[in-house]
Symmetry: C2
Subunit: 160 residues, 2 copies
Amino acid sequence: MITTAHRHTLTTPTDRTIRVERILDAPRDRVWRAFTDTALLAQWWGRGNKVVIERSEVERGGHWRYVEHSPDGGVHGFEGRYREVTPQDRIVRTFEWDGMPGYTILETAEFTDLGDGRTRVVSTSLFFTTEERDGMLHSGMEGGMAESYAALDKLLAEMR
Amino acid sequence: MITTAHRHTLTTPTDRTIRVERILDAPRDRVWRAFTDTALLAQWWGRGNKVVIERSEVERGGHWRYVEHSPDGGVHGFEGRYREVTPQDRIVRTFEWDGMPGYTILETAEFTDLGDGRTRVVSTSLFFTTEERDGMLHSGMEGGMAESYAALDKLLAEMR
């Protein structure tokens, strides 16, 4: 499966993974700040919805928890724990949504300086089972992700 | 791989799982209480070491966190979240050790009433990768588990 839309490329390299590649029009240090500074993160992660960052300990062993508030009153909590944080290079953390507790995903985000002021971000999600991976693929995650990345593009432009 | 020792049987049914089967000499309701009542759990889970149950929300979506204090001053935290809790039948939850944060394991414990006053407990651990599963197999987990089960046997006998 390969989908290219909204400037990202989604592939399924193995039967338990989803890989999303995106080129961002900003240098790597700025992208890193947008992913790790809570004040910045809250501005794009929720696709325009209010996000309350309840916990954000961006270091090995640290916990994170974000709560998204949608206009219809919906409240969606997400949380996990950091396995690895290598500044400007790599973040590996677990991810789960309150609506499916215990359906943990291992997320790896890799940041590559393209040398021309742009940064490549590759996000790979590893699931416990193929069924769980397929459930995510069919959840509308790609549309939501595209909205988040659009909000991120806007923020990165404003950070110049 | 099959190991039978200390009255449990450990097998590796797939390349990402560890299955441990154990027959307990107590009826299922008593076993269920020993696994879910924090005052009882603290008496066997730490193999004789002090265990502080910091969190124990035994319901879907609930979090758990146990901290084991060993005689040499070592402090080992373990935590996770419940995916499913079906009383006296089945518990599915995530498990991770503070020492390897983000190396999440999905644990399924199944309790079967053998009809003769005994209960079979089957614990299946699913890892993200074979390497992580093998790391656990080589960690000495089997000895620790045997010690915990011995402490559980003792407690169950006292609960008569």
